[in-house]
């Protein structure tokens, strides 16, 4: 798999979520994603960026554009927060330990083609999503 470009963005505070949405939108558009596909990826990114801040205490987004054999975008959100004790439970719609709707993780997964999550208590959380063109 050929990596075309990579960049990292800090995801520490609320305004960073707006910035993440903007950059992901630009990257999707530059690859020629359809408007619906752009919207799905930007929405998934928005959910995960908010999780990174709310539950992870901030972190980093790595944005990669991929090419060959397939064209796509991979976003990896990594934080050094408290981690998720029960990932399976956290993925379930409606489950939240915060004040949200509990749709962030499960919803983001439905909006992308590939979804990976790794987390351990005390070891932070990394969520990676990929959407192919």
């Amino acid at each position: 798999m050929a990596l075309v470009s990579a960049e990292t963005l800090r995801v520490d505070a609320e305004p960073d979520v707006v910035q993440v949405r903007r950059r992901v939108r630009e990257a999707c558009a530059s690859l020629g994603f359809s408007l619906v596909d752009q919207t799905k990826m930007v929405t998934a990114a928005s959910e995960l960026a908010r999780n990174t801040i709310t539950y992870g205490g901030g972190g980093v987004l790595s944005l990669q554009t991929l090419n060959g054999p397939r064209v796509g975008i991979r976003l990896t959100f990594a934080d050094k927060g408290p981690g998720i004790p029960d990932v399976e439970l956290a993925m379930r719609d409606g489950f939240t330990t915060g004040s949200g709707l509990g749709l962030g993780l499960g919803g983001a997964k439905r909006l992308v083609n590939e979804f990976d999550i790794s987390s351990e208590p005390g070891g932070g959380t990394t969520v990676s999503i990929t959407r192919w063109k």
């Binding site: 609320e14 919207t39 930007v42 929405t43 928005s46 908010r50 709707l101």
Partner: protein
């Protein structure tokens, strides 16, 4: 617009701004005794779970203040994404555009007159 408030969201809001809008709007409904609220989101490129919750909250608070809320102008790509995300926007009525939203509000406000008598202003 008579008894209706029209709110047009024109920028990509961060979360605290969305909460501020929710609070401001609730106060304005109370101060103006508006019977209906139209929220035009045609400029919004995404509605994620936070913005969705804000819209549902506004509708719920408005209802307590005896006002109906209609969200108008949702882009098709946003609607498709919302459904896959799993957001159903409970209690939020939608219309394709501002004109259709005004019609909807007029109909529901007129419809409530019979039951409780015409409001005196």
């Amino acid at each position: 617009m008579g008894d209706f408030l029209l709110v047009t969201i024109q920028i990509d809001m961060h979360d605290r701004l969305a909460i501020a809008l929710q609070d401001d709007l609730t106060n304005t409904i109370s101060e103006t005794e508006a019977r209906g609220v139209l929220i035009d989101i045609s400029s919004l490129e995404i509605v994620d779970s936070f913005i969705g919750r804000m819209l549902a909250n506004i509708a719920a608070m408005a209802r307590v203040l005896d006002a109906e809320t209609v969200v108008v102008g949702m882009q098709p790509a946003v609607a498709i994404t919302l459904v896959e995300l799993g957001l159903s926007l409970p209690g939020v009525r939608t219309a394709l555009n501002v004109d259709a939203g005004v019609e909807m509000l007029r109909a529901s406000v007129d419809g409530t007159k019979g039951a409780y008598g015409t409001r005196l202003r």
